[in-house]
């Protein structure tokens, strides 16, 4: 379970960043996330929907202990991300669209490396690796260097790396961006599989079809503010527009007008 309470993240801007914000911008900081609170439950897919720059990745990075919140709290499986960062990371898997693998290592070496870093004994790593490699079809290329793999093959290795320590909580940060249909499908299957295994899943995306396919709970984030948080079925039932895209644009525009 993930519990987020009154989460804020403010970034100090460099001179160059201030210039890029335009002449209308006043101040030295920018609020990436403002007073965000939500809860992700095990066995459900919590979908964080928002356009680029909305604050989705910042929120997920705070959950994953990569960034520290400016204020507010996050607990993952009962552990505070600031006080018990290591305990949080032990229980967490993190997958992004960029496969982020080491070209000169083989899948076997990569997975063993991350298994060891997650504190797993070698015997357990071997057993788990065997299962995952068989499940994902990595066996045929487990001992070849990653450098020359196709995106699909790399994505499979990336999934195995995320799941090697069988995490209770899995964070997916725009996991299908840049992937072809087949590679994206394997990610969708993984997310569903995580729900089936009663894991807590948080998925950030700006792809409406993914929301429609996967979301149990939905949060919409726009310019750092949480503008919707509830059941996806409720959201769909109360839509004023005919499509999810149009409804999202309507809510975002309303929020834009409110903060202007």
């Amino acid at each position: 379970m993930i519990e987020i309470n009154n989460l804020n993240k403010t970034f100090a801007l460099s001179r160059q960043q201030k210039k890029e914000m335009g002449s209308d911008f006043i101040g030295n900081t920018v609020d990436a996330v403002r007073d965000v609170s939500f809860t992700c439950m095990p066995g459900r897919i919590f979908t964080l929907l928002g356009p680029n720059g909305a604050g989705k990745t910042t929120t997920l990075r705070m959950i994953a202990t990569i960034l520290k919140p400016t204020s507010g709290t996050i607990t993952v499986c009962g552990f505070d991300t600031i006080k018990d960062g290591m305990e949080v990371r032990k229980r967490l898997g993190f997958l992004t669209g960029s496969t982020g693998l080491y070209d000169r290592l083989t899948p076997d070496e990569t997975i063993t490396y991350f298994g060891r870093l997650n504190g797993m004994p070698d015997a357990v790593i071997e057993k788990r690796k065997k299962e995952l490699f068989h499940l994902l079809g990595i066996d045929q290329f487990a001992h070849r260097r990653v450098g020359k793999f196709s995106t699909g093959m790399k994505q499979k290795v990336s999934i195995a790396r995320t799941m090697i320590h069988d995490p209770e909580v899995v964070v997916f940060d725009e996991p299908t961006s840049g992937l072809d249909v087949i590679a994206a499908k394997s990610i969708i299957e993984l997310i569903r599989d995580c729900r089936q295994k009663n894991k807590t899943v948080i998925l950030s995306t700006h792809i409406m079809s993914e929301v429609n396919m996967l979301a149990d709970d939905l949060a919409i984030i726009h310019k750092g503010d949480l503008i919707y948080n509830g059941l996806y079925t409720d959201f769909k039932a109360n839509m004023r527009e005919s499509t999810l895209e149009d409804e999202f644009i309507r809510i975002a525009s309303e929020h834009e007008n409110a903060i202007a």
Partner: protein, 402 residues
């Protein structure tokens, strides 16, 4: 600790699988010394051989003067006497490399010599000639003047010793190693320092900025390893790489000593260089050098890793780290200059202290006091660089910059 070892082992495996890193880290430092010393020795031997074999072409202006010199010159081996019309022709022939020297003797020269008067002559040469040839010409002139003096003294029935009533017998107490060490000893630490830096540079770029660019840093940060464990694992790899480069250059030095030892024969200068190299490869010298290399590598590794962490991409890291070479090469070159020695003040200047300290260790002239200050200063700078670098790595702004 377990995580540090895991990271260290993985990073080591990763970088050693890249040919370019291996070339820079091991192959180049290993071959550079044998290559340099082989080239020097071959050059010296071939120049000496050329000069020894060559017949010196000497022109004498045909004006009926200088018969005394011509007679002297005829007794000299490897000389060819040519008659030339005037000094202008002589100069032209020298400049067109048809002559090595031209002599002009004024009217009354021979008569003056006969009357024991002081006379003089002009000779022309070009200093851009091979230095061995210039040396031979000067030797001929010296020998001729000594023969004139000797003749004059004999004619005056005076003892030859009158010109040198007391002989000073100089005894240089500096060993061949010390003498040569002060001259070429500076080149050796120069390369050590460069190799330490180059050895650290590429792994540092790959391990931080490269990891950022590949997108694998985020995944690593989400693992159970703490940030400091990740940092130390990476630092150890970078420092080891610099250390291996320096060690490879020491191995190259030993190789050079062995090669030169075999080739030296009777050649004095080659024997001197060989004795210098053999001196360096004494256990004590190597141990003292290793003590310098350890903090130097940590210092370089911490700085290169810090900049690499800050950089967004591999390319940006390269453009940030490469200019650092100026700050390393410059003090290293100052350390090579003769007369610049290691004292308590120079021992505090980073890089220069390494250059001077290593130079004195090589020459066998290192004094305990300044050397201890060098070690202390190096460990202090390494500690400062390390602290700064860790702070950089712990700063989320740097680590996620991009």
């Amino acid at each position: 600790m377990k995580n540090i070892i895991t990271i260290f082992k993985k990073e080591l495996r990763d970088i050693t699988r890249e040919r370019r890193t291996l070339m820079i880290m091991i192959v180049i430092p290993l071959v550079v010394y044998p290559a340099i010393f082989t080239i020097i020795s071959k050059y010296m031997a071939s120049e000496a051989e050329k000069a020894g074999e060559k017949t010196l072409r000497i022109g004498i202006v045909q004006n009926g003067n200088g018969n005394d010199f011509t007679a002297f010159l005829q007794q000299m081996p490897n000389t060819e006497i040519r008659s030339i019309a005037d000094t202008v022709t002589g100069k032209d022939l020298i400049l067109s490399d048809s002559l090595d020297a031209a002599y002009f003797f004024p009217d009354g020269y021979d008569a003056g010599i006969a009357k024991l008067e002081q006379t003089g002559f002009d000779y022309f040469y070009t200093s851009t000639n091979n230095e061995f040839e210039v040396g031979i010409i000067q030797n001929i002139n010296g020998a001729y003047k000594r023969s004139l003096t000797s003749r004059k003294l004999t004619e005056l029935s005076m003892n030859q010793t009158i010109l040198e009533p007391a002989k000073d017998n100089a005894r240089n107490l500096a060993s061949a190693r010390e003498q040569l060490g002060s001259i070429i000893g500076g080149i050796i630490p120069y390369f050590f320092i460069i190799f330490c830096m180059v050895g650290c540079m590429y792994p540092a770029i790959d391990l931080a900025a490269g990891e950022k660019e590949r997108g694998s840093l985020e995944t690593l940060l989400v693992s159970s390893a703490s940030r400091i464990e990740i940092y130390i694992g990476k630092l150890m790899t970078v420092a080891l790489s610099g250390f291996v480069s320096a060690m490879a250059s020491i191995a190259g030095l030993i190789l050079a000593a062995k090669m030169m030892g075999g080739d030296a024969g009777d050649d004095q200068s080659l024997m001197q260089i060989t004795s210098l190299l053999n001196g360096i490869i004494e256990a004590r010298s190597i141990l003292l050098m290793l003590l310098i290399l350890l903090p130097l590598n940590i210092f370089f590794a911490a700085i290169t890793l810090m900049l690499s962490i800050y950089a967004k991409t591999f390319k940006e890291a390269q453009s940030m780290i490469t200019p650092l070479m100026i700050f390393i090469v410059f003090p290293s070159i100052i350390g090579m200059l003769p007369g610049v020695t290691l004292n308590v003040s120079t021992a505090l200047i980073p890089i220069l202290n390494v250059s001077l300290g290593a130079k004195e260790i090589i020459s066998g002239t290192a004094q305990a006091g300044p050397l201890i200050v060098t070690y202390l200063a190096l460990f202090l700078y390494a500690g400062l660089a390390l602290t700064l670098s860790v702070r950089f790595f712990n700063n989320e702004k740097n680590i996620l910059r991009g």
